[in-house]
Amino acid sequence: MHELSIAMNIVEIVEENAATHEVNSVSDVEIDVGRMSGVVIDALRFALEEAVKSSVMESATICINEIPAKSKCLACSHEFEPNDIIAVCPECGHLYADIINGKELKIKKIKFLE
């Protein structure tokens, strides 16, 4: 369950930022999670429910944006959204591609009342 470590990292970062702005409660947290990030969103949401307890995020609305993946074909450079882990290039049928998008795992923004 590495989502628990991830959730605790999120709370820690938000706590640090709340401390910087001298607030003890945050109302909104927006997080980007790429489909290729290695994080299962449902598991993260579940882990966050525990991790936010007694923190500045305890009553925050948490918005998780799922970022689609994008691959770039190694042969023809065509960019496409892979529908599978081992997607074939829809343009030329080549088997190998590099992932150029979808590995995001970041806190986009937070909101609080001052």
């Binding site: 990292n9 709370v11 307890k53 305890e58 799922e66 909101k111």
Partner: protein
């Protein structure tokens, strides 16, 4: 242990040098309080990004009389990587390794694929030529560290308790115990788990994923993150191929389609078959360690 998050007091991470069991270190990096009587008021939801970017979490967008209510609402754009702390610490480890010309390899696999066996055989064969240092990661026990100690290589055991992966800070602490010499090879055996260690950079130069032929040949597409984040793949226990339904070419094809840059070794840590190619690669790689100017 705290039943809700697995980070309770009894579950501290410990770092032990076998044979010097009084010298150890406890880390508990994320202390937080638990109040059983409290209820969480968090609301999570997710939606796909292509469904649009507007999020209205509040009903305060009518421009009525109660404007003062959110006059003080402040939005801070962070764009901060959630794993930034680990990544920064991993870069510090990497700098330490590069400065001392240490080649660090992070070994990852399912439990029992043969990480410790590979290390035992490799150290025994090459210890006259290469100084090896080992960090062992397991949830519990000093068993693997004791097996390594028997080969004569310096070893530190990290016990992660309920933790399912090593992270850069644990390795950083273990390094202080281990005192790795210059021009050495540092092998870091991660916790047996094909999921969680994928996300945590330790500062290694190479990530080596092991699968054994007693596992399914579709492992690479079942656990793509690990194969995607590795650069070397060892297929172990080839001595058992006559007895199992494992198609090596299919496993390699799957692995390459997840990560076309993977380099493969097929070997048996038990019989020694195929080990020479691995030994050769190891010896060549330390010579080739990048010396940046």
């Amino acid at each position: 242990m705290c039943g809700t998050c697995g980070c309770g007091q009894e579950d501290k991470i410990s770092i032990t040098r076998p044979g010097k069991e009084n010298q150890h270190d406890h880390i508990h990096s994320h202390e937080h309080e638990h109040d059983g009587s409290k209820h969480s008021h968090s609301h999570t939801h997710s939606h796909s990004h292509d469904e649009g970017h507007e999020h209205h979490h509040h009903d305060e967008h009518d421009h009525g009389d109660h404007h003062h209510h959110h006059e003080h609402e402040k939005e801070i754009v962070l764009e901060q990587d959630v794993l930034q702390k680990n990544n920064l610490l991993a870069e510090r480890n990497r700098g330490y390794f590069e400065g001392r010309n240490i080649m660090a390899i992070n070994l990852v696999s399912s439990p029992g694929s043969g990480k410790t066996s590979l290390l035992e055989k490799t150290i025994t064969k090459l210890k006259e030529e290469i100084p090896f240092y080992i960090i062992e990661g397991d949830q519990q026990t000093l068993n693997d560290a004791n097996r390594i100690m028997a080969t004569g290589a310096p070893v530190v055991q990290i016990n992660t308790g309920s933790g399912c992966h090593l992270d850069a800070s644990m390795v950083n602490r273990a390094l202080k115990e281990l005192d790795v010499s210059e021009d050495a090879v540092l092998m870091i055996e991660n916790v047996g788990n094909l999921v969680c260690p994928a996300m945590f950079d330790l500062g290694e130069a190479h990530r080596l994923v092991i699968i054994s032929v007693t596992e399914g040949d579709d492992k690479p597409i079942k656990y793509p993150d690990m194969f995607r984040s590795s650069d070397i793949c060892i297929i172990n226990k080839t001595d058992l191929l006559p007895y199992v339904d494992f198609d090596i070419e299919k496993a390699k094809d799957y692995a390459l389609r997840v990560n076309h840059q993977l380099k493969f070794f097929e070997l048996s840590a038990k019989s020694g078959e195929g080990m020479d190619a691995w030994f050769t690669w190891l010896k060549e790689s330390i010579k080739k360690q990048p010396i940046e100017d």
